[in-house]
Amino acid sequence: MAAKVNVGLLVTLEGEVATFKIQGTPTIQRLSIIEKQLQASVQNVQAKSIVWDLSELESMDSALALLIAKDIQNAKNSDKEVVLSAMKSDVEKMLTMAQEHAHFDSSFIPEKEGFFHAVGVDSADRVTKFLDFLSFFGQLSVIFFGSFFHLRHIRWKEMTFEIYESGIKALPIVALTMFLIGIVVAYQSAAQLKLYGANIFIVDMLGISILRELAPMLAAIIVAGRSGSSYAAQIGVMKITEELDAMRTMGFDPYAFLVLPRMLALVIMMPILIFFADIAGIIGGMLIAKVELGLTTTIFMERFVEVVSVKHFWIGLLKGPFFAMLIATIGIYRGLQVKNDTQSIGFNTTKAVVESIFAVIICDAFFSIIFTNLGY
């Protein structure tokens, strides 16, 4: 469909009369050529009267018609005389329509607000968001603690599904990652310990760091990435498709149906995930202890029982439910914050993951301080 005739605007000047003529059949893709020539001619051609010769034009699309209509209007506004040649009926119809429906003064750029306006709106927005969160948290607490007294209100089926979806299915990846972290940590420390001949202390090191910190943290980060994001996205889309509203009108409380099962599932599964992460991490470390430092499994285990007290294990597990609550709450809250457009799903999903990982780390820091001060 290459243009047979070069598209362009032919301007001829005879005395005070400028004649404009369109050459070829310009499609909208090639219209910018005409647009530029027309702009140039407005500046260069000083004529009292303008003739638009459209007699040879076979057809015209609305964009070209608009260009011409605008030029005619501008010319008339600056007191020039405009003469239109005879046109083929399709062309004339299009030009008339363009003149009828054109709005050359429209602007679609939203008005810019001032600095103070923006600060004000933003502050008000933050206050509302905070109140929103409190209200969400309140509702959640009512449902959560209420569920202990009304066990039959718990949606067991949804909960078991979520246990499988966000707990069991996360097991392989949590175990594999922790196994690799065990290897990395052991490998790095083995090099240092070897220097001092302190090979056996690798057991103390791995035992305490993995059981107490690394395993709970890593499990929480992976769950935040897997489930936190999926809760936010899923509930966000349900909000856009009005599924949440449908549930409300049918008398199903979304908190009881969607929020509580997810939360309970994570609270139950997180310690279990941490438990398996512990095992995988220690196995990884044990492997390196054997290969790099020549510690046999028997020696490793004997030393492990001797020096790593069981409190480290319990502290690690204890963090699980707290991390789970944070991840589930933030993921679900972010889901409910989704507004009626697709961009806010992406925005809120990102936020859900970033915020829940951040919250988990803060929470972990608090635990560290508390337990250390309590003498554990």
């Binding site: 469909m1 909208i28 893709q29 219209l31 910018s32 647009e35 057809s59 699309d61 609305s62 964009a63 608009l66 260009l67 605008k70 399709d90 119809k93 299009m94 329509m97 363009a98 429906h101 054109a102 709005h103 050359f104 429209s106 602007s107 679609f108 750029i109 939203p110 507004k339 009626n340 457009d341 697709t342 961009q343």
Partner: protein, 248 residues
């Protein structure tokens, strides 16, 4: 009447989804300048056929020719060129929610032309006007306007490149009767003004009466009837009898 040229020709199209045979040899053609409809019971594959014509869905055998171009084996360039010559209005409008109405309409112009922002604005303003929206609506986001306005905005977006063919998937679904009739009038008006060929899937009897020049009735995987409304009504088919007798 103008010289009637076949603009879309569907011949012997077979579509299968897994074991489910949807179309078993569909034959029909659309002439230039007419408003053409696909009718049929739900699940007969009207929308699928429309999606096949606009290259969103594949078909197993047969041939579809659009503006003189066969689309079953089409080069990427040629496909792109075809896409510039049609506009599609989806059933759910499919406006981009992160852009304002004006930005939605301007998107193709921004991407495919080198026109200045001023000219693009003029074109957008013109399209907003001919579909019957107010200029102010251009600054709003899709989430801020009503269903009928979204339809019109999506129509303006479909029309922005002055397409030769306009595809509509159930354009009046979800509209109240008054808006639906307005939309019918608008489609006929635009066809006359812009020399469009319109292909639509429709269930709406009034809309079918008001707008369609010719139509194809698809039932039992085949086209059971094709032609103008009074020709269609004469044909004996359980679906046609049920469908058109309900109106009395």
């Amino acid at each position: 009447m103008m010289n009637r040229k076949k603009i879309i020709e569907v011949s012997n199209v077979v579509t299968r989804f897994g074991k489910n045979l949807v179309h078993d040899g569909i034959d029909l053609h659309v002439n230039e300048g007419e408003i053409y409809g696909f009718l049929g019971p739900s699940g007969c594959g009207k929308t699928t056929l429309l999606r096949e014509i606009i290259m969103l869905e594949n078909f197993q055998s047969g041939s579809i020719e659009l503006l003189g171009q066969k689309i079953e084996y089409i080069r990427m360039r040629a496909a792109q060129r075809l896409r510039m010559q049609w506009g599609v209005l989806f059933q759910s409008n499919a406006l981009f929610t992160s852009l304002t109405v004006a930005e939605n309409i301007a998107l193709s112009l921004q991407e495919y032309t080198n026109l200045s922002q001023e000219t693009i604005n003029d074109i957008v303003a013109f399209k907003i006007d001919i579909v019957g929206l107010k200029q102010f609506d251009g600054t709003l986001y899709p989430s801020e306007i009503s269903g009928g306005m979204k339809k019109k905005a999506a129509l303006a977006r479909a029309l922005v490149m002055d397409p030769k063919i306009l595809f509509l998937d159930e354009p009046t679904s979800g509209l109240d009767p008054i808006s639906a009739r307005e939309f019918d009038t608008l489609i006929v008006k635009l066809r006359d003004l812009l020399n469009l060929t319109v292909v639509m899937v429709s269930h709406d009897l009034t809309s079918i009466n008001n707008t369609l020049d010719r139509m194809a009735v698809i039932d039992n995987k085949k086209v059971v009837a094709e032609g103008a409304l009074d020709e269609i009504k004469k044909i004996k088919s359980p679906f046609i009898e049920r469908f058109f007798n309900n109106e009395k």
